[in-house]
């Protein structure tokens, strides 16, 4: 079980996720599919203790993103967000 304060934030996942995303994900706005909060990915609570990365909504703590990196393959689960909005300016 996780203790209440063992999370980091979305910034800490940005390096690993830069392998998949061309644009900076920390400034992207994601909408939580559960509570509807719209927050920057940098604000998500990040759990990195397990075999993968789990990002949770900083408002309701529901899972936003899961990322698991295997030897030859990487899995990305984004169903916790209804969208991610990138600033393309």
């Amino acid at each position: 079980m996780s203790s209440p304060m063992d999370y980091l934030d979305g910034n800490a996942a940005a390096g690993e996720l830069s392998r998949l995303f061309v644009m900076d994900i920390t400034t992207a706005e994601g909408k939580c599919a559960y509570c509807g909060a719209t927050k920057r990915f940098a604000e998500a609570h990040l759990y990195m203790e397990g075999p993968g990365i789990v990002a949770r909504c900083c408002v309701c703590e529901h899972v936003l993103l899961r990322f698991v990196n295997g030897r030859q393959r990487a899995f990305l689960d984004l169903r916790g967000m209804s969208y991610l909005c990138f600033d393309t300016a």
Binding site: L8, N11, T26, L46
Partner: protein, 243 residues
Amino acid sequence: MWRVGTVVALHDETSSARTITLEVPDWPGHVAGQHVDVRLTASDGYSAVRSYSIASAPNPEKRVEITVERLPDGEVSPYLTQELAVGDRLELRGPIGGWFVWRTEQTEAIQLIAGGSGMVPLMAMIRSRAASGSTVPFRLLYSVREPGAILFRDELEKRSNQDRAVMLAYAYTRVAPKDWPRPPGRIDAALIAEATWPSKLGPTCYVCGPTPFVEIAAGFLSACGNRSDKIKTERFGPTGAKK
């Protein structure tokens, strides 16, 4: 994409923290507040990646400084702070992150709050302000275990003496200097109210430190009337990626 940096200088900041200066020929430049991932690979192929905030201001010399706190049980930090030598090469990924950054075009007052080695990205902001000739008022509240654990101490004193627009306040959690007005302890609402800009100035606040510290500091800033979208946070923990 991994880049290779060569260690060109090493400098001990405290008994447990060392600044590593790297020259990275293909460095694209960075913004104060960003971090890099460092990858160490053993001869058997085992590799470990850790994130470290960049301490240096953006510069044309393609130099990147990171300041690493040694964690007694760490897998990476003991190597970086004790064994790494000038001339060694390190693999880097970055610069990373566009959220927890201070850009030289920003004109509003800036409040920095550091807990322990959370000072590192905030130091990059102070250095970037000086290097760019910005006159934006900066205020720093730095919570640290004891006087000997202060990172960049001489430089901070020098910068705040030369330039009154960078105001410094220290808070000690374990041991305070003799005659220090506040007994050692965690930051509290009264300290945040006293040592930070009034919220009516509309400062942007940057808070960096261990997770519990960041939660407490951001909560007090919010209670003082600062808007949540003006409070930017970066958390780190010894077991995760952030140093």
